[in-house]
């Protein structure tokens, strides 16, 4: 692909990649997307528990990146900017679901519709029936707690516990302070502790 060939110096770092993409280099844009898209999809999938919603968020987020990349001014990291777009889209959808009272506890899979908890339980449990039962109960409990978290608590918990982001960065993504993100995480883990206490 001759048209998309990147100059060596422009792929050295992410800033070079962003600048090349801003100048219209499609290959740079594609590489930028592919360096983050798995994390983005994982975040959306874990927050929304729906393949279709995660797919929609993925597409909408990267279309917004494509449309607005020329306005990106390096005021924050690209990661923060991208996650701000993704979490805003997810939070909006979660809030709409709350209003419509349609929080699904099931997910669509290639083998049909499944309870999300059972999917994780099957992965985690051994063939031992007692352990399987325990695992199933644990997953039910975790699903219930996750559904009981506010959209913001859920986003903070997901970004901190599963994506390993620092609270300061999470605060930047959510447009709030590190302290507020810390409080959200505290409330989320407190709810988990209360619900899972007898498993510990």
């Amino acid at each position: 692909m001759t048209a998309g060939v990147l100059k060596k110096d422009s792929v050295q770092d992410e800033a070079g990649l962003i600048r090349a993409a801003q100048a219209g280099d499609q290959l740079a844009c594609e590489r930028l997307v592919q360096s983050y898209d798995q994390q983005v999809l994982r975040l959306a999938y874990n927050l929304l528990h729906s393949q279709e919603d995660a797919r929609d968020i993925y597409q909408e987020a990267f279309l917004r990146v494509h449309r607005n990349l020329h306005n990106f001014r390096f005021d924050c990291s690209f990661h923060t900017w991208l996650y701000r777009i993704v979490t805003n889209l997810c939070l909006d959808l979660l809030r709409k679901r709350k209003v419509r009272r349609e929080e699904p506890s099931v997910i669509a899979t290639e083998d049909g519709v499944k309870d999300r908890a059972s999917e994780v339980a099957e992965r985690a449990a051994a063939s031992d029936p007692q352990r399987q039962l325990m695992s199933r109960q644990l997953q039910d409990r975790i699903s219930t707690v996750l559904e009981g978290l506010t959209p913001r608590e859920r986003a903070v918990f997901e970004m901190r516990h599963h994506q390993g982001m620092r609270l300061r960065a999470i605060g930047e993504v959510l447009g709030t302070t590190e302290e507020a993100a810390k409080n959200c995480l505290f409330r989320a883990t407190q709810k988990m502790r209360t619900a899972l206490g007898d498993f510990v």
Binding site: S10, R19, E30, L41, R55, H70, I142, H161
Partner: protein, 302 residues
């Protein structure tokens, strides 16, 4: 429970996340070393964190691949973002370095100053007349003694053409638009319409050219869809093999392997064996492996 124990317990979670200040961390560790109750409580918190690890779900297989494929199509259909001239210039300067940009800028300023000096010669009437056509080129300029100027203009006007999808004239225009280097969205739409045309030699050639040379992955994906009826053609098969080995977009390669692997086609073995050596994409590797197994061929080259 002492106030110190209570304060420690509230910090266990942040401690395990590594979010405490170094001084707070040291104080907590020192306290736990001396307090058995808090040591046990910290162990329970650690176990809680381990249980919470199970609150994540694995991404379903192929979800990422299909998302990437859909995104490539959606991006190809998107118009180019509208940017002001200074944004384009700033982006270009950032990529190219500021010295050549500055030199070019000075040249442009000099040129513009020269043009402004001559401006009274061109009447406002000309500007009004020149607004209507899409493109205007001044071919000839002449002045008379009364200060009037005569210009000969080449004008390109927009015109609408419509017709049935299988109309030969429409087909020729689509074939030309499918190669327009300036507009990926136009190429995407044209290739999409061409693939719905009756299978013909000119369409096959245009789709092959798009798959081989178009810089936009969305257009290449559309071309691949259009080449489906020609999947048994030797020229197309050779191009599919090249695409699998050379295309830098995994979405395109993923679609190409589905078209390339056909029952009874033994010409795939060499390409599939080479893919097993170098391909990073899990789906393409597993598809190649299954096809090689079905043909009783080795996964490796010797």
């Amino acid at each position: 429970m002492s106030p110190v124990c209570q304060q420690c317990e509230e910090q266990f979670s942040l401690y395990l996340y590594g979010e405490l200040e170094p001084a707070q961390e040291e104080a907590l560790e020192a306290h736990c070393a001396a307090c058995e109750r808090c040591r046990i409580a910290l162990g329970r918190e650690r176990e809680l964190h381990r249980l919470m690890d199970d609150s994540t779900a694995e991404l379903p297989a192929m979800l990422l691949t299909s998302c990437r494929r859909d995104l490539a199509g959606a991006l190809a259909a998107e118009p180019m973002p509208i940017r002001s001239w200074w944004q384009r210039a700033a982006a270009w300067m950032a990529v190219s370095g500021w010295k050549p940009a500055l030199a070019a800028g000075m040249l442009m300023v000099g040129f513009a100053a020269g043009r402004v000096g001559q401006r009274p010669v061109l009447t406002t009437q000309l500007e009004q007349q020149a607004v209507a056509p899409a493109l205007v080129r001044v071919r000839e300029v002449a002045a008379d003694n009364q200060g009037r100027v005569r210009l000969v203009l080449d004008e390109t006007r927009q015109r609408e053409v419509d017709g049935a999808i299988d109309d030969a004239r429409i087909r020729q225009l689509l074939l030309a638009a499918a190669q327009d280097p300036s507009d990926a969205g136009l190429r995407f739409a044209s290739v999409d319409l061409l693939r719905r045309q009756p299978a013909g030699e000119d369409v096959r050639r245009a789709l092959m050219a798009a798959l081989e040379r178009d810089p936009n992955p969305g257009v290449r994906l559309k071309a691949l869809e259009g080449l489906r009826p020609f999947a048994a053609d030797p020229g197309v098969r050779q191009l599919l093999g090249q695409t699998l080995e050379r295309d830098d977009n995994s979405g395109v390669r993923t679609q190409a392997i589905d078209l390339f692997v056909q029952p009874g086609q033994k010409d795939t073995v060499d390409v599939l064996q080479r893919l097993m050596q170098r391909e990073d994409n899990t789906y393409i590797r597993s598809r190649s492996q299954r096809a090689l197994e079905a043909m009783n061929a080795s996964w490796e080259t010797f």
